[in-house]
């Protein structure tokens, strides 16, 4: 491993300790009542059978410190290629047609395009300074980019690869998402602590909803009835009624033995049936499984260290999470709600996207 920069010879190296804790936790998990175990086993077996002729997908992971993108084959669960990209790659997403992977390289002030066929960087987009996260419209024609350094959202024509304009938002724009009907763009600003509702046709802010401190990520329910916004420092996920622009509820987290400050929600993944949400809790090293109807956490899954973002395989059988500090990706079996695999990637893995 090349990540010797944070090691200290005189100090007990933290990774094994954490690994141990993880194994211990898994052992405790294993000691669940027998019927649950059997249920889980049978679930797992059923799933294994169903999966047998596995359909392989390709996942791309941005490694913020290595300046690389790791390519993972979801059949063998191995890294098949490591692509050199610009400086500080973070936000990463496939174009709607599946031909390119867009990766925001913040310190180079651009978004690079990786050709999914050749798996190499072929072009770049004129984003504003320090792009971090972005969202594209349903047709895959317009890209909206959050520029952390100058409080704007940049609008880019993806076909012409040209900049169309900027929208002024709050301090440190970060989270970006578009409503399923494509009419509303959501941007969260980390120091202003708001979700800005932007009309995609007029490109004007139509509403601002205050949420808890440092909102990082926004995700709509597929039926558009709710917008979920994670607050990293606030430690909550706010649920907003997108019609009324009101916070109508909050998901809160409590993990016995873990201090409150360590629970820092970032990435959110919602199943297509809108029944289950997965929320990455950062340095709590866990993914919370949330029942969307009751807004209650039903389970915490122990993954790698400082988990931030995630992506489902298109068949929704697996959920892959990026664990920044342990430099790996955890694979969660969605139906079984169990971590089944860990894959080493580059240093400080940040974002992830999977081919449609």
């Amino acid at each position: 491993m090349s990540s010797s920069w944070h090691r200290d010879d005189a100090a007990p190296p933290p990774p094994p300790a954490v690994k141990q804790a993880r194994e211990q936790f898994q052992r405790i998990e294993e000691q669940a009542p027998l019927h649950t175990q059997i249920l889980r086993l049978s679930l797992f077996a059923a799933l294994a059978l169903a999966v047998a002729p596995a359909h392989a997908f390709i996942a791309y992971v941005s490694n913020e410190k290595s300046n690389t993108v790791s390519v993972i084959d979801t059949d063998s669960w191995t890294v098949t290629k490591t692509i050199k990209v610009g400086q500080r790659p973070r936000g990463i997403e496939f174009t709607r047609d599946g031909k390119f992977v867009m990766v925001a390289v913040g310190d180079d002030d651009t978004i690079q395009l990786i050709d999914a066929k050749t798996q190499s960087v072929v072009d770049s987009l004129p984003s504003g300074p320090d792009p971090e996260l972005f969202a594209q419209d349903a047709a895959g024609k317009i890209l909206y980019v959050a520029n952390e350094n100058d409080n704007t959202v940049t609008v880019i024509d993806l076909e012409k690869r040209a900049r169309l304009g900027d929208i002024q938002v709050g301090v440190e724009p970060e989270g970006m998402t578009i409503s399923p009907d494509g009419k509303t763009l959501i941007n969260t600003s980390e120091t202003t602590n708001m979700a800005h509702f932007i009309d995609t046709s007029s490109r004007q802010i139509v509403a601002n909803v205050l949420v808890d401190a440092r909102p990082r990520f926004a995700e709509f329910k597929h039926d558009s009835s709710e917008l979920w916004v994670s607050s990293e420092i606030g430690g909550t996920v706010s649920i907003i009624d997108p019609g009324k622009h009101e916070v109508i509820g909050k998901v809160t987290f409590e993990i016995p033995g873990l201090r409150k400050e360590a629970i820092q929600p970032v990435g959110i993944g919602m199943t297509k049936d809108d029944k289950t949400a997965f929320i990455a809790l950062g340095p709590a090293n866990r993914i919370a499984v949330v029942d969307v109807a009751t807004r209650k956490v039903t389970k915490y899954l122990l993954v790698g260290q400082r988990v931030w973002h995630m992506a489902f395989t298109p068949d929704e059988k697996y959920l892959l999470t990026t664990n920044g500090v342990s430099n790996d990706v955890s694979v969660i079996d969605v139906a079984a709600q169990k971590v089944i695999k860990t894959i080493q990637v580059g240093e400080l893995p940040w974002g992830i996207t999977i081919a449609p």
């Binding site: 350094n149 002024q168 980390e190 708001m194 800005h196 440092r214």
Partner: protein, 393 residues
């Protein structure tokens, strides 16, 4: 909680409709002393706008948010020269400003806080690290964003103990504040099980900090001063007055690291801090002020951001409402230190991680792993509630 939530929901609507209305004006005063302190290192010489530059950035940040909430923040700066009355200056500032950011020595701050109590002005102490302002001399109208000496000493001590450098040679300057920092370091050693193997005092005999052939002399003085010490792991120096501390690294008789006022230094902030999104903050600061951000800048930024956070959460510029919210259980502020910062309700001190820096890099951030606390690990730094002598009034 429910009331707060309801307020928040109401606010969602209000924020939308407030766009067209006249913004609410929120005045923030900044009161500091005109004289800049002198440092041994030329590169550490503070800028004239040290502190207030951070407040200015926070005013900009608050106003970006204010565009959406219908609030407009202004900053009025006042510097008092030697011999000028702090109370008079503060009273004049309080005419137009409900909030005052104060970078004052402890005694002046106390006079100001007592003079402004009736008026209801809320003060933020961004400069004074004295323990007594949070203990026997604590005041209900003063919020402290500056860490205390005990917090700084504990942050350093935790790291040294974690590193197993537990035998300390303590070298103390001859000025009062040096002695106060030494007191804090002794307390830290006792709390975390380090041993002070010997103490030495470095007398300030006066003299210039800058001379044309200073290095030659220092190179002879420092080894002699540190020789014949009992076996020790690290030299811990208390020299807040900047008389000799920075001369010690690389010049000790025994090859040992230096920490405290020089070498590895505990600070609330550093220009090299780039974790937890801080790079955005550092960039914004450099863009606005054409220099790097110091700990004092950060302490002032945090104070003004706390005001902005509270005005946006309460949807009000009313000083009493804001003060109540900041002191209340639902308040927290994000300040690029990897965790939410909250107030110790017993003495209004901001809980915060402390960086350990060497002038070029952040070496570590305390509290260190393994220092546990039943409420918040941040309360392993400094005086905790059960030890506190503060009675807020």
């Amino acid at each position: 909680m429910i009331r707060w939530l309801a307020g928040l929901i109401g606010f969602g609507l209000a924020a939308t409709s407030a766009l067209a209305a006249e913004p609410v004006a929120i005045g923030v005063g900044y009161l500091g002393v005109a004289a800049a302190r002198s440092t041994l290192s030329l590169v550490e010489q503070p800028a004239e706008n040290d502190g207030v530059a951070g407040a200015r950035l926070a005013i900009e940040d608050n106003n970006t948010t204010g565009k959406f909430t219908g609030q407009r923040f202004t900053l009025e700066e006042r510097r008092i020269k030697e011999g000028e009355d702090a109370v008079q200056a503060a009273t004049a500032l309080a005419e137009k400003n409900g909030f005052i950011i104060a970078d004052l020595p402890a005694d002046a701050l106390l006079k100001v806080s007592d003079a402004l109590r009736e008026r209801g002005t809320l003060l933020f102490n961004v400069g004074a690290i004295d323990e007594r302002l949070r203990e026997t001399d604590c005041r209900a109208n003063v919020i402290h964003t500056a860490p205390t000496r005990a917090m700084l000493a504990d942050a350093l001590g935790q790291y040294l103990v974690w590193k197993k450098w537990s035998r300390w040679l303590l070298v103390v300057g001859s000025h009062d504040e040096d002695k106060l920092f030494a007191d804090a370091l002794r307390r830290t050693a006792t709390r975390f099980g380090a041993k002070i193997v010997q103490e030495r005092t470095f007398e300030d005999k006066g003299g210039a900090r800058r001379t044309d052939s200073g290095v030659t002399l220092i190179q002879r003085q420092m080894p002699v001063f540190t020789q014949q010490a009992p076996a020790y792991d690290v030299l811990v120096v208390a020299d807040e007055s900047e008389v000799f501390g920075a001369y010690l690294p690389y010049r000790t008789w025994d090859p040992r690291p230096v920490a405290g006022s020089a070498g590895l230094v505990p600070r609330s902030w550093d220009a090299s801090q780039d974790q937890w999104g801080a790079i955005q903050m550092q960039n914004r600061f450099i863009k606005l002020n054409s220099r790097r951000m110091t700990a004092l800048d950060m302490q002032a930024w945090t104070a003004v951001r706390m005001i902005g956070e509270a005005t946006s959460r309460t949807n009000s510029g009313d000083v009493k409402k804001v003060a109540d919210f900041v002191k209340g259980p639902d308040f927290s502020v994000a300040a690029f230190k990897g965790t939410r910062l909250t107030l110790r309700d017993w003495n209004l001190q901001l809980r915060q991680p402390i960086l350990l820096v060497d002038g070029r890099m952040v070496v570590s951030v305390s509290p260190q792993e393994g220092f546990l606390h039943q409420v918040s690990e941040l309360d392993t730094l400094g005086y905790d509630r059960p030890e506190s002598k503060c009675k807020l009034k």
